[in-house]
Symmetry: C2
Amino acid sequence: MDKIKRERWKRKFGEWFSENIENAGIIDIRYPIKGTYVWLPYGFKLRKHLIDLLRRLHNETGHEETLFPLLIPEQEFMKEAKHVKGFENEVYWVTHGGIEELNVKLAIRPTSETAIYPMFALWIRSHKDMPLKIYQVVNVFRYETKSTKPLIRLREITTFKEAHTAHATKEDAEKQVKEAISIYKKFFDELGIPYIISKRPEWDKFPGAEYTTAFDTIMPDGKSLQIATVHNLAQNFSKTFEIKFEDVNGEQNYAYQTCYGISDRAIASHLALHGDDLGLCLSPEVAPFQIVVVPILYEGKEEAVNAHLKKVLKILENFRIHIDDRNETPGSKFYYWEKKGVPLRIEIGPKDAEANAVTVAIRSNGKKEQVKLEALSLHLKNTILEIKNTLRERAWSFLSEMTSSALSLEEAEKILKRKGGIIKTSWCGKKECAEKIENELNVRLLGINEEERKKGKCIACGEETESVLNIAKAY
Amino acid sequence: MDKIKRERWKRKFGEWFSENIENAGIIDIRYPIKGTYVWLPYGFKLRKHLIDLLRRLHNETGHEETLFPLLIPEQEFMKEAKHVKGFENEVYWVTHGGIEELNVKLAIRPTSETAIYPMFALWIRSHKDMPLKIYQVVNVFRYETKSTKPLIRLREITTFKEAHTAHATKEDAEKQVKEAISIYKKFFDELGIPYIISKRPEWDKFPGAEYTTAFDTIMPDGKSLQIATVHNLAQNFSKTFEIKFEDVNGEQNYAYQTCYGISDRAIASHLALHGDDLGLCLSPEVAPFQIVVVPILYEGKEEAVNAHLKKVLKILENFRIHIDDRNETPGSKFYYWEKKGVPLRIEIGPKDAEANAVTVAIRSNGKKEQVKLEALSLHLKNTILEIKNTLRERAWSFLSEMTSSALSLEEAEKILKRKGGIIKTSWCGKKECAEKIENELNVRLLGINEEERKKGKCIACGEETESVLNIAKAY
């Protein structure tokens, strides 16, 4: 019996996604403002584990957590011209306090550079004050005019981890970009989310950045989703916000900065990429419960099962568990927790009690086996590791299936029609060629794949180049 | 040598407070919007431990954590007339998205009843769906026109824990009010914050509530500070938001609701009440670091000290510690961490290494003693408990010192002039008498002390009553 099918998941991903995040109790989509949603208790727990993981990775690399105000005075927000231009159509403005009109309009942060850097200017005096590496996990807002989508395209991004750093030299900022990329790799690896890294084209970089490196993944429907960005800001913001310091030679210089962010989309891609036709399938790393325990009570056998249950619970002390003792049939409980994606189910029935064992079912492959109590703790530890690895490998092989190469626009078009995904191709770097590619294929140029070099001809103009370009139809 | 003085702390509390929360690195008060501040890394850690404690107390009593949107559509916000009236002067309104004017104005939550209850109406169908007990920890906003004060009177309240519950009967809601009070008692007891509980007068209850029970504490300057409120909402909101259910008899009824909240003021009162003339003095329960370790290195002895340090660190594995190995004098380090209020300091010098011991200094009483390594772990555990208890007892005896009784307006006035604090007195319950008391004494009627009954005469009109009224000059 192979329970694990991924047909509807792939063919009707849009429906699958909305249905399952709601059925599983992740969020409620009925809140009466477009693009804003309610985190339900189960989803909130998942989110919390994911944020804790992010926190750990930042703390252990010397980042310190802070919290800056939500509101930004108009004059600060308006300081960095390119930054303003990038956000002017999507910032929410607060204009009234009570019935009074405010003297100074307040922007609700779409991201916090302009809230944080005025404080950096106060904190940084000398090269000894750097590196300064802080982060915060906050909600940010974008007035999205495109159609919104839970966890993917939001007006309130409820989970935005943004890190901001300042350095005394250009080299240190470069190193920081590399550290950020390595933190994000670890983060996505822990979650089993595959990614491709691209340097965004000039016109698609973060407003105010020198350059932007982005992580994209591929959704089941073949469309790419940006899941993280890392920006080298050089001295662009430090010049605007007067973040000056005395360098080792006693001279005044502007700080070199970086910033990098991850959002609710990390949660979206975790939910999307590990799912199947039965529903969600969470990694034990962040699952609200790693194990659901279902006692199976037959009349006359309750006492034996309950006594056995007690012994089992002792063994489970170091796992995140939930005991489902509702008055429902075992079958309906199994179904309920399968949809919610709990990685492991432990059934405890009269036969398990007799055998001094439990029955362990694995959500991700549908396998079920009886395990003796004396072997249980080790078995679960190993199985949890195995599940984590298997989910990651399956997701990576999906990404690899969905990654193709194309030597011409025609070839690219065929691939896009057939299966979508990411296409690696060649591009000379000229904007007019980029526009041609975008327009003819209706794709996004994710950017240059810096990990690869390959001789080829620009698919728009035929010019020779060694740059590898990643393109995809994108969310 | 008695290092522990609390003179300036009491006499110049306002200055003491602003200075010390900044000197200790709790928040930065220089953010360019009045009444909004930046949580610095050290303060953020303190805040996190405090929130974790709140979470634990809510989770273990069956509350589930959720997260609702920040923005509330005008029509929802405007539904409950009394609620609107209570907040109409202090709500921030978002009117523009980008350069477009929004069709529907959005309120930034000053509290979340009107965001949450439309969802309750969708979630609750039957008495079986209740009790419904949720909470969230979020930022809320009030357009304060009075002068703002860090952590105490804010425009962005960064830490607002609000719980919301729905019940099938009036009795269940009453019980929930009691549970909320008992959770808050535990919370403040863990933090060592003393409190007095009052039932607020009719005109001072939460807008839309049936009645409001509040926790107040006394600041070092003798003014009271509201630190928690618990509201029985009866069916007021459920009727407005159509939160209906089928009861056990198959009849439709409106849910009975409660809500209760705690804010940044819990942090403010923790910082204020345990401090002294040296600076902050944190409880080990929530201190970012319970112990700061200061190695004292003399030339030629570094190796012995460092080897000893390693052994000590093994013993400290189960405590939250920070090792201060900066290139500064021990004296300046001691001073630095005293201001920040770290409960314990462990000094490790050559003599400690020789004696296979460390020197342990206690921040709250200035005592210092050498402790052998074999006894260290137990010694620290006991000392931490002792510190927690001592801080709590000292704060409670301060509250008791600052609590008086008065039989007449004149007597009350004298006490208020001499030392401020809370005054227990008698009041007949009439509004005109309340106004007289407020106006003549320039105090706030905190409300009826429901834990006490005492025969007396209303200090305004002389009418006999058994109600005990708490009054104070209030923040």
